[in-house]
Symmetry: C2
Subunit: 257 residues, 2 copies
DNA sequence: CCAAAAGTGTTACCGTTACACCCATGT
DNA sequence: ACATGGGTGTAACGGTAACACTTTTGG
């Protein structure tokens, strides 16, 4: 929400003299069962604009950056404000600073993206002005937010292919099949269960528990736990380059809006 | 409640009311022959601070974001301003927004990183207040700029392992051995010439010319040309996820300063 | 006993790595 | 001729993909 104190009837020269406004927005992903198939799919919460510009359209949660907050804190806070949830993973996506992103004023948005555990996501608040939508096939959003979501999705998919982040969409304990479902949902392709299992077991940070998931129709699968630094929420630390995390910035940063 | 000496006579509440300042900085890489070995190594230009804070220390080139510029334009401009050069590659690195990056004022810096062709880099301007330094083993810099450079280096190295960016450090035409030298210089390890050659030839976007580099002591190597979208300088385009560019955001974003 | 998911074993495939070898040129 | 980097051939290695197979549960 690039809401900015409308600068009343500011004349042009005055507007030019002012620095660009700075806002934080967040793309929040969570898994929810699809209405049709019941299988998990990606959803995200949006906020309805209650004033111009783009009044009535849906937009990413966000707000101005206040003096006392770091960028990360600001992102976490507006995640909390809109959904009532705490992120399981939170990372900077990109800074969007095109000249005409907002018709009324020059705004630079620093956008974060977050993953929320599915167990918590069920309790997420909804209201008249906050609703969840399927991440694919979104309607037209305010500002350049369609592009931003598209880019966030690309990042999520890209990262899921090599990084240990799928767990952040699940609860504390999970079966390997559930992890596989996450991959299939996010990457939108089927994955061989046998090979997938082996790859996961090689991956450090994923530990078997003594528990098994009961209540299924078949052989009860073992539950696992993710023991990677749980603070993936906050300080992704000081530039050690981990083995698995190939990473690198977006091969393609998004259009320079 | 730390006392901040600067900011003239601004009282605290006034400072809190102001939005954080927004600045653009750029980490500019170019290859220059090492003084000792003569082999190419990574260098970058820094600017000496002529006022507080950190007066006398070296810092990344940068400045405030003006109303009329996109983020990318601003980065390109201050690259031009400090070195007199045009970037061959330019990409957003990260937005740094920690609370105490600058002692006097809250500043959010959106940092870009750039590659400059070695042919041009030779003509780069130097002066009392602008000098080039070897990218590794830098002295203490102003602000959090040591961290930023460290992160930019990590990104460069990471990207070089899978992306077609080495060419941006060379001239228009180059031998495969020169490309290999770039890899060796940046990644700091030796690369098998035979295998490297084959990998490059598979890579799309690199085309042989009819010319050969004369004047060497041995068999003249063929010259090649990079025909990838040359606008890698500017619009890295609309989110097509290319095959080679695995990419994904920094596995680890830098410390949230 | 049967269906279906959990979990294991095995093999083919493919890209990378290591390194032996030939080619072309200046001295 | 010979030293040296340019350039090609080839075989071992390692990770992934495909898929047959065994195990364990509920019905």
């Amino acid at each position: 929400m690039e809401r900015v104190p409308l600068v009343a009837a500011a004349n042009v020269s005055e507007r030019l003299a002012q620095p660009p406004a700075l806002a934080i927005s967040t793309v929040i992903f969570a898994l929810r069962p699809s209405v049709s198939s019941g299988r998990p799919t990606l959803w995200l919460p949006l906020v309805k604009r209650i004033r111009e510009p783009f009044k009535g359209l849906w937009a990413l949660p966000g707000g101005p950056l206040t003096q006392a907050e770091s960028l990360l804190d600001a992102a976490a806070r507006n995640l909390q404000d809109t959904t009532g949830l705490a992120p399981s993973y939170l990372e900077q996506l990109y800074a969007f600073g095109g000249l005409h992103r907002s018709p009324s004023q020059r705004v630079v948005s620093i956008v974060y993206w977050a993953l929320v555990q599915s167990t918590e996501a069920e309790q997420a608040e909804e209201s008249e002005n906050v609703q969840w939508f399927r991440a694919d096939g979104l309607q037209e959003l305010a500002f350049d937010h369609n592009e931003i979501v598209k880019y966030a999705l690309w990042r999520l998919r890209n990262k899921m292919e090599y990084g240990p982040i799928a767990y952040h969409l699940l609860g504390e304990k999970f079966t390997l099949a559930q992890v596989r479902e996450v991959y299939e949902a996010v990457l939108n392709r089927s994955v061989d269960p046998a090979n997938f299992r082996r790859q996961l077991k090689q991956t450090a940070g994923i530990e078997p528990t003594d528990e098994f998931l009961q209540g299924g129709k078949h052989r009860p699968p073992r539950l696992y736990r993710y023991s990677g630094t749980n603070n993936h929420l906050v300080k992704t630390h000081l530039l050690e380059q981990p083995l698995l995390e190939r990473a690198g910035p977006p091969g393609h940063p998004p259009p320079t809006l």
